[in-house]
């Protein structure tokens, strides 16, 4: 049981380049989330999904897009990377509210934009 897997774990981008972060979970969870973590800021919600084919904006969505074409995958895209997007990105998933309270986090993806 792999849980929540993020790829890649490390990436360096040049300003203006695009990339996609992949989050995969094997627990059949309905809800999936993308957060970013910056020093002294805690974790801030970028986008989330409450089911296959649905996405919604979180607290800091600008500059990011997401897709959830398959239930097990939640993709985070940066169309034109900026230095302000240098951060650690965490994906998380959880079952439906009635099915449990545990929220599972991936190991993180370290992104540097130069």
């Amino acid at each position: 049981n792999a849980g929540v897997t993020q790829t890649p774990k490390f990436r360096v981008l040049k300003t203006g380049q695009s990339m996609t972060l992949l989050c995969a979970q094997d627990m059949n969870h309905e809800y999936m989330y993308w957060y970013r973590q910056d020093p002294g800021m805690g974790l801030r919600l970028i986008h989330y999904s409450v089911g296959e084919g649905t996405t919604a904006k979180g607290e800091v969505p600008d500059g990011y897009n997401v897709s959830r074409l398959k239930k097990q995958n939640f993709l985070l895209g940066l169309e034109s990377a900026a230095p302000s997007q240098t951060s650690v990105y965490f994906c998380a998933s959880r079952p439906q509210r009635s099915s449990g309270n545990t929220i599972y986090f991936g190991e993180g993806s370290w992104l540097t934009v130069v």
């Binding site: 989330y33 800021m41 805690g42 919600l45 989330y48 999904s49 929220i103 190991e107 993180g108």
Partner: protein, 111 residues
């Protein structure tokens, strides 16, 4: 907008001492989480508090929740060096039942 405030943000304490981390939140929520994060690592779930008056303990850590005061505490008893880490509280919001995090408390336990 839900705000989650932790204090202190930085805490240096001696081994063997007791201390409490506080987590205040601004709107009603029915569940609160505590996480631990070591440098360069992901978040480790410590406690999930689901109701007013809930208290949970694991080793030297004890967490409590007062939903009326919108306050949770994480109490550290007889601190040891292995407890050095950053501790986050997080509150569930209605939007997709996502977590809204505090800024974290960076704890350093010294001999």
């Amino acid at each position: 907008e839900l705000k989650v405030e932790q204090n202190p943000l930085f805490l240096s304490m001696q081994e063997g001492k007791n201390y409490t981390i506080y987590c205040n939140y601004s709107t009603t929520s029915d569940r609160l989480y505590w996480y631990r994060q070591d440098p360069g690592k992901s978040l480790e779930s410590l406690f999930v508090l689901l109701s007013n008056g809930a208290v949970k303990q694991e080793g030297r850590l004890m967490a409590s929740l007062d939903t009326k005061a919108r306050l949770s505490t994480l109490h550290i008893t007889a601190a040891v060096h292995d407890l050095s880490a950053t501790y986050f509280c997080a509150v569930v919001v209605n939007s997709g039942y996502a977590l809204n995090f505090g800024k974290g408390t960076s704890l350093l336990v010294t001999p």
